[in-house]
Symmetry: C2
Subunit: 81 residues, 2 copies
């Protein structure tokens, strides 16, 4: 099953990469842009016998490796049969 | 309007970050995982008078800065009124 993971810097955490991107966008003339946040988008295939099992695996992977829960939030979607 | 941008390494391009994450997942015991790809998930607010205008802006931002079209694909979603 295809798992899509979205990792974002927590709202209260400074996001220097987002600030840098925002400044670059403005210097390119996109001055109608604000609140840029840069996170990660991870896709992977999980062999699982049910969507519930894939979701449980995805949660464990996020907690253990894919996200840093101190400074990042995550959510994920499971697709496929 | 909230714009969500998903940037992924193109299918035919090697993704060393994805390979490293996959190896780390396996070493943690997740041996039912394959095809890990690591991209970016960028969210931003765009002041625009219509969703179409926001979409046009988002496309320009992706082409000019947010994605490298030589090695990356992108897609985006526009939310909000």
């Amino acid at each position: 099953m295809l798992v899509k993971v979205f990792v974002t810097p927590r709202r209260e955490i400074l996001d220097p990469q987002g600030r840098a991107v925002e400044q670059s966008l403005r210097s390119l003339g996109f001055d109608n842009v604000s609140g840029v946040r840069v996170g990660r988008y991870i896709t992977l295939d999980v062999r699982a016998s049910s969507p519930d099992e894939a979701r449980a695996e995805a949660r464990r992977m996020c907690e253990q490796l894919l996200a840093n829960p101190v400074i990042e939030d995550y959510r994920f979607e499971v697709e496929g049969s």
